[in-house]
Symmetry: C3
Amino acid sequence: MSNLLDQVNPELLRTYAFWSVILVAKMLLMSLFTTMTRIRKMAFINPEDVKSISPKLKPKVDDPDVERVRRAHRNDLENILPFFVVAFLYLLTNPDPWLATQLIRAAAAGRIVHSLVYAVMPVPQPARLFSFGVTLLVTVYMIVQCALYFM
Amino acid sequence: MSNLLDQVNPELLRTYAFWSVILVAKMLLMSLFTTMTRIRKMAFINPEDVKSISPKLKPKVDDPDVERVRRAHRNDLENILPFFVVAFLYLLTNPDPWLATQLIRAAAAGRIVHSLVYAVMPVPQPARLFSFGVTLLVTVYMIVQCALYFM
Amino acid sequence: MSNLLDQVNPELLRTYAFWSVILVAKMLLMSLFTTMTRIRKMAFINPEDVKSISPKLKPKVDDPDVERVRRAHRNDLENILPFFVVAFLYLLTNPDPWLATQLIRAAAAGRIVHSLVYAVMPVPQPARLFSFGVTLLVTVYMIVQCALYFM
């Protein structure tokens, strides 16, 4: 059996790499957005952060806006990081390049929309559910293809 | 020095890929299980989720059953995601194929049992500690092998 | 177009692999440190853990020292795990070996110092901010390089 890593389509690897770094950039923006929300609401947790702002400020662990951004960020960890692994392994299964390209783009778009409707400007459901579902369905499809291919 | 990526044993890469997507599937089931537990306990956090269920419902952030599933899920993020990285790098160290296969299977089994005894049907300790320990020991062994090989 | 995976500099891959497993080891130590802090403060969450220690002990979810270590650990998940992906993809962009080596070392050092000043022995700001910033800047630089190369 030849080396699986050699059969990765180079154009697909570029697509994967490009959208992966875009998604990491999006995740890092969640950290920044958490800090911005902490400043806006004056809701800091660590005593040394509180002290560096004002001696009168008290730590605040349950600001609803800060916690909302943190939940959106944690949802990224739960979904985007596993996607990086599954999508890379899916590239080794010799998929149809057109289909694989659309799947990667759809998964990335789903997570970008998810962050917007969850953390940046909350909108009524099912906006968050739909954007979450797009990436989830792509991931599940890739898992099934990988499980059948590598079994 | 030849390319390290070329010396990956193709059969080992298949084993790694198969168990990796199984573990990602298992992690995604934790998301589903969190949602199922939220519905069973009527414990939703986001105001727009609460509203879409019933206008009388109030957000609830500290349901013990929901938080338990979320801790199990976070434990997955802390242990399974780093395992994906370490196990892939371990494949580059030209390990004994039989040993590497057993280690990957043991690590995957450890995490599956961990989820069952932590989130699905809680059992007394040390069931969770043992299942946690199996994957941890495999990961530590691979870290040591990698550190020595790549130093 | 030739296979991108073949053009990875083997020495750089070794540097990447070595520091990656060191960072995973550091992350796993955070789990251990959380458990040690739970024991020191007698602050356990799961009822079965509490029972296995003493029948009189009650679960405790908000110990400030335990939560501090957990925040440091979560910050690792948010920053180190994405770094593994970005740095690997950056290796495919044919970077200058000397520069790439220094960047990987700086990013790893940043996270090790971050854990020390956040969780092990809290020091006043901006120690945590600076160590956080070093790895963040390296990651952002790699994201930009990757986005331009793979676009």
